[in-house]
Structure formats: structure tokens, C-alpha cells
């Protein structure tokens, strides 16, 4: 038996530049949408995905996750991670409604305070990761648990206050057919894209995440870059918290963990093509990941399918997406 000769034909498929720029995850989104449409036709006579109200709901339901996932994308591009976002969301919702107490005049003060708290949480996360060299997974898990403990200890019972009616328009109002919440999400995505692609900070973040040594050799202030990324992540969590409290009318310590915003933001970011090891990815991919989750949720909810099956599908998609990325990069390396 002789050792087999393996033809090393290099994969030289020519794809146009434009197609290459589309994040791969959009192919998944198309597949998921197609799958949804087929299920829809067979089991709901096309009443789900052709219904504008439901379509709009997919977007609205994705707003909170989408906003957090944009922040998560920043830290993950920097080869870090933020697992404290779910509790930052809870903290924001509770603080906002406690401070506002239903009084419109107190809204600006509440906004100012929760945003400052967001900056503080992100700053602490960033310091732990860069200056104390605590692994980001552990550091942010730790800060998350601390916030959770404080919340549960202080606010497990009693009134949480409420947000004024005016503030609730953020959650329910709309300009014409377009809800404010979708405009908010869109704005966050566009700002995120702008920062990543058009600013020095964005460029440096990719550098730090791609290879921190190269970053240092290029004179980047690596710690500062990572700390800012963590502050951005916490701020998006604050925004998501404000959106959630505007929908619910009052804050509660469980809103963050109940939405599994920590793991779901990581999952959607990864599905969107951002590498866990950093240095690669972007917000448009992440948003597609969020949409995929949104479509699956909505279709299955409308069909009344077992929630456990939904989890199975989600899990499978995470694995498939990441596997397809690593297969692709292996082929490129060969």
C-alpha cells in the first residue's frame, strides 16, 4: 500500500469583491427566513411572515438583544468578553424606575445617573481585564454576580417605582409605521459601525484584539482601548435596560437574567462572524445573528412549537455557524 497522493488543488473560486464583503451570516439569515416561510406556508397558511404586525414584532423583540449585542461585539473584537451585561440591564431598569418615580421631571436625572453607572461598570470591567490581568470571562462574571447580589439584597421586595407615561413612548411609540425602538436599534447599529470602521479607536480595537503584541509594537495604548470597549459594552446594556423598563413600566432585578442577555449576546455576536479570539467581525454580522434568533423565536411561538425544540434549533445554529467559519478559515490557510 502506498501513501496516497492528495491533489492539492487550491480553491480559487472567484467571487466578486462585493459578495465577499457581505458577512457570511447573511446566508444563514436567508436560509432561516426561507425555512420560516416554508413552515409558515404549511402550518400557518402564510399568516406569520407575511403579516406586517408580526414582522414588526420580530424587530421590536430583537431591539434589546440587538443593542446589547452591538456592545458585546465591541468587547469581543477586542478579544475580551462581557458577561455582566444581563445584570447591568437589571440594575439600570431598577435604578431608572426608582429614581423616576413616575415623575417626568426626574427623567433627565435618572438618565444621567444610569449612564454614569454604566460608565463605572464598564470602567471597572476594563480595569480588571487590563490592569489586574483577570481573564475577561471571570472578571465580568464576577462583576455581574456582585451586581446581582446587590440587586437581590436591596430590591427583592417592595416598590420599584415606575417610569412616567411619557418615557414609555420609547417602548411603544412610533413615527408613522416605524416604532421608536427600531429607530433606536438602527441608530445604535449605525453608530457602532461608524466607530468600528471610521475611527482610530475602531482600528485600534481590531489591532488589540487581533494581536495585542502587534498592537503594542505599533504604539497603541492597548489598555485604554480595551477599557473604552468595556465602557461601550456597559453603556449599550444601560440603553437596553432603559428600553426594557420603558416597555415594562417598572424595573425589576430579574429582567436581565430572564432575557439571558449575557449568553445570547455572545451567541449572536459569534453567529455574526466575530471571532471569540478577537480581531475580526462587525456589527452588521451581529445584527443578522440577532435577526436569526428573532425569526426563529417568532415563527416557533406563532406555531405554538415546544420551546425546547426552539432551544435545540438555536444551539444547532450556533454550532453550524462557528463550524462554517472555522472550516472556511482553514481552507484559506491551506
Amino acid at each position: 500500500m502506498s501513501v496516497e497522493v492528495i491533489a492539492e488543488g487550491k480553491d480559487k473560486r472567484v467571487r466578486s469583491n462585493f459578495l465577499k464583503k457581505i458577512p457570511q451570516v447573511y446566508y444563514f439569515l436567508v436560509i432561516v427566513l426561507a425555512g420560516g416561510l416554508i413552515l409558515d406556508q404549511f402550518f400557518a397558511s402564510g399568516n406569520i411572515l407575511s403579516n406586517p404586525t408580526i414582522l414588526r414584532n420580530i424587530l421590536v423583540r430583537s431591539v434589546a438583544l440587538g443593542i446589547v449585542a452591538v456592545g458585546q461585539t465591541f468587547v469581543m473584537i477586542g478579544a475580551s468578553i462581557d458577561l455582566s451585561v444581563a445584570y447591568t440591564i437589571s440594575l439600570t431598569s431598577v435604578m431608572a424606575s426608582l429614581i423616576m418615580q413616575g415623575d417626568p421631571a426626574r427623567v433627565p436625572m435618572a438618565l444621567g445617573i444610569v449612564l454614569l453607572v454604566g460608565v463605572a461598570v464598564g470602567f471597572i470591567n476594563g480595569l480588571l481585564v487590563t490592569k489586574l490581568n483577570v481573564n475577561a470571562f471571570i472578571a465580568t462574571l464576577g462583576t455581574g454576580l456582585i451586581i446581582k447580589g446587590v440587586l437581590n439584597g436591596m430590591f427583592s421586595s417592595g416598590s420599584m417605582g415606575s417610569v412616567p407615561k411619557g418615557f414609555q413612548t420609547l417602548g411603544y411609540g412610533s413615527i408613522g409605521p416605524v416604532p421608536y425602538s427600531i429607530i433606536l436599534l438602527l441608530a445604535v447599529v449605525l453608530i457602532g459601525w461608524f466607530i468600528l470602521s471610521w475611527t482610530k479607536f475602531g482600528s485600534h480595537l481590531y489591532g488589540v484584539g487581533g494581536d495585542i503584541l502587534i498592537g503594542r509594537l505599533s504604539g497603541l495604548r492597548t489598555s485604554r482601548v480595551l477599557i473604552i470597549a468595556h465602557i461601550i459594552s456597559s453603556l449599550t446594556a444601560v440603553l437596553a435596560g432603559l428600553f426594557i423598563v420603558s416597555r415594562l413600566g417598572a424595573g425589576a432585578p430579574w429582567v436581565g437574567p430572564d432575557g439571558v442577555y449575557d449568553l445570547e449576546s455572545v451567541a449572536t455576536t459569534v453567529i455574526g462572524g466575530t471571532a471569540l479570539s478577537g480581531g475580526r467581525g462587525g456589527v452588521f454580522g451581529t445584527i443578522a445573528g440577532v435577526m436569526i434568533f428573532g425569526v426563529i423565536d417568532t415563527v416557533f411561538n406563532q406555531l405554538g412549537v415546544d420551546t425546547y425544540l426552539k432551544m435545540v434549533i438555536r444551539g444547532a445554529i450556533i454550532i453550524l455557524a462557528v463550524a462554517s467559519y472555522s472550516v472556511r478559515s482553514k481552507r484559506e490557510a491551506a
Partner: protein, 523 residues
Amino acid sequence: MTKDQNKAIIPMIEVHNINKAFPGVQALDNVSVKFMPGEVHAVVGENGAGKSTLMKIMAGAYKPDSGDIFFQGEEIQLNHPVQAQDLGVAIIYQEFNLLPERTVAQNIFLGREPSKLGVISPPQLNKQTEDVLEDLGVENMINPTALVSTLSVAEQQLVEIAKAVSLNAKVLIMDEPTASLTNTEVNLLFDLVATLKNKGLAVIFISHRLSEVFGIADSITVLKDGQIVGTKDISNVNTEDVVYMMVGRTLDHYFPPLGTEEDFGEIILRVKDGANDFLSNINLDLRKGEILGIAGLQGSGRTELAQALFGAVPFSSGEIELMGKTIAIKNPYSAIRRKMGFVTEDRKSEGLALMQPIRDNMLLAIRSLQNLFSFIHPDGIRASRSMVPDLGEQVDVRVESYGNQAQDLSGGNQQKVVLSKWLASGAEVFLFDEPTRGIDVEAKARIHDIIRGLTKSGVAVLMVSSELPEIIGMSDRILVMHEGTIGGELPPASSEADIMLVATGQQNGNGKAKSAANDGGIK
């Protein structure tokens, strides 16, 4: 030491009486060199001669223990690579410092992006990159918006050079820049180096390939064992002179006696026409009880040969015969199962699980042979652990406790643990890649004794080494690699100059040895 005709010109960079020691080795010993503007200065020497250390000192990556550095006549203190870079000293390592997932433009201007109030204009960034590439005359080869991961090695090197030029580098240090280039690419690089030279840069060119050095350099400095042998004008020397300068040394270390005819048994391993992406036309025989030394320059395929035999990067064509049977070695597992052991060059990442106890490291190979779900050893865990002290004694490893982590051991003792791992597996063919790199002299001698002891018990040894004294002192036969194939076979105790001549492609070994290698070796 430099005999410069034009003393009026100030050296671009000059090192003076530099000393640098690492644990167990004096890497640089009172080294002084001047690098002139508009000059390509080659620095040559064997592995471990101190070339890389010297370059890293000039690039600010290492601090010298003593000595001075002058940049354009002024004394400087380099504390950080960025500082050297700002002054105008750029270095291109063999491993490129590029971000694969970012574009050419983003890489070239990382940390120096043209911007207003922190906002970059990508079109402007790409335009500036285009300008830099145009300046070098390579604008048609590289697109500023291409991802670096899609570029070939040669193109990535161009990006590194463009980055250096855009930094206004006055000194460009290149570490083995031609190691992974094709001939056409080398020519292109040399054209580019000539352009840079005409711009007045001081280009420092580290290379093993003497023919290339003579094609491009104006002057040449030879380092040996951390000392300067000499700096010469290239027109005043020829290849033989330089080879002699590189290797003319005294042996500072005694090797165990070579094997004798009685030691050598039948052929245990034979390769016919082995080839893969890195290797071609590999024919060799390995007999029981002999040490077959594999010499060659960096990038000649030495390590790749050992990896191919062990299945880490297997042959894609050709045949491997083990004890007369044709076999396929597709991965390390199949090699280990067939009683081959591989002591790797990089023991820290490939040979040892550093955080695990020494005991478990010793038993790693034997455990991999067992059924995944059986007890860790046929006799149970306790019995398998009783093997450990025996193994330790065999390789003379000095440890306080076998429960300590492997990372606490010295380099020499770590290497002994790697050895014992394969002893435990009962390997009959041992592949060594740089068995004594980074090990102190005493431990080196001990490991050489152990290797020779192995052959006395009938084990066949294939030993890859970049250290010529080791090749000559240990090998019963010597194969010299050149450009991915076996350049020639030399008899035991050949001289360093003989080996270097084959390794640099100046000579194809002697005719007899060459045909013997092609026929499949010694009968």
C-alpha cells in the same frame, strides 16, 4: 574593526562593545559593528551565533547588559521597540507582525491612521497606502484594500517593507527574508532592497544563504558564538572564506564514541521518493543501532523531514517501509503505534504539558497507545506510576518529586523528561529535532550519552540538528538537506566546511555518497 574607506560618513547605526547574556549562554560578547547609510550589510553566522540577539538589541526588543548604541552618531538608549521604530529602526521578523484579518492599508497605518478628531477616512487611508506602494514600485501587486490573510508570503513581506518605508525607516533589518520565497520573489525582493539602498537606508540582511548574500550585500559581518569574527567588504572575500569564518572553531565538548559496524543492524526504516508541500524526492534508510544525522540550513526541510516521518505533516506521496513492511503514517498516532518517538525542537509547546506533573508527562505517550476507555495502565494507575522512578533513573533526570509541574524543571531536565516519555512507550525509532537546543553544556553531554546509549540497545535514531558540532560528533552517517530535498550524504566525521558547502548548494556531496543516497543508502 570596520575598515571603511569613507570614514567621513557617519554610520547610520552603530553598536559598540555590546554584551548580552542569557541564562547559561553568552549570546553576545563585546560586539561592535557599524552599519552605513546606502549600504546592504549582511550578518551571517550559524544558529546560535547571536545574529538575532544583535538585531533585537538594535530594534529595542532586548536591552544589552553593557555597551553603547549610536544612531547617526548620537548615543541612544532603547527601552522599547516603539522607541526604535520612532527613531527609524524597522525590523522585519521571519514571523510577520501583520493582522491577517485587516486590510493592507489598515496594517500599514495601524496606530498612525490619518485622521481628523479621531475620525479616519478610509478612502484617504487607502490613497496614502497606494502612495507608499507606488513609492516602492509595487502598486500593481498589492491592493490596499486586500485582506492580509489573502496575500502570499512574498506579498505580506512587501507589506512589511511598505510599513517600514511609511515609518520613514532609516535602518531596515530583515531576518532571513528569503527563507520562504521562490526564486522570482527573491529577485523582486532584491530589486526592492536595491531601491531602498539608493534611498540611503542602511539595510541589514540576516541570511544563511551565502549565494544570496554575495548577490546583494556590500559588506558582510560574520558572527560566531556571540563574537565578531570579522567585517569584510564583500569584494574582498569569497564563499569559502566566509564558510571558514563561520565554522572555524574548536570543539568545546566531547561526544561519546561513534557507533561501530557491530552496532548496526538491519534496515528498520526506509523512505522511497517521499514528498509533500515542503519536501521532494526524499530517499533514505535508517538502520538499527545507528544515528543518522540530518543537517541543513534553516528552511532547508530538516524539521519538515522529521515531521513527515512522524506523521505530523505527513508525506503526500512516496512510500515508507518499516521493518520491510510498507506502511502509511498519516498522523502521529499511527507513528507512535508503530513504535516511533519524536523529541521535538520546541519542547515547551510540543513536547511537554508544562502545567502537568512530571509523572504524567513521562507516561503521556504510553497512555496514548491504550484504549481510550481502559484503565490508565493495564496494571492500574499505581503500577504505571511505579514505572516512573525507573524511567527517571534511565534518563538521569533530577527532580525533587515526580509530582512537581514540568515547567519547574530546567531546560536540560525537561528534555530528559521528553526522552523518558518515548522510552516508556518502547519506541524503536527515535526522531530527534534539535535535541539539545537551549540546554547547558553538562546536560547536553548527558543527553548525547543517552542518545548513544539508545542505539547500543538497538534503537535507530534520526537526529535533526542545526548545530554542526553536534551533527559531526554524533552521526554515524550525515544527510545534508538543501531546498527541501537531500542534497548529499556525507561520511561520519566530515568537516563543518564540507557540510556547509552541501547545505548552501555549492556542492552536491561527493559523487559516491550522492548515488548511494539515491539508491536508498548503504547496503
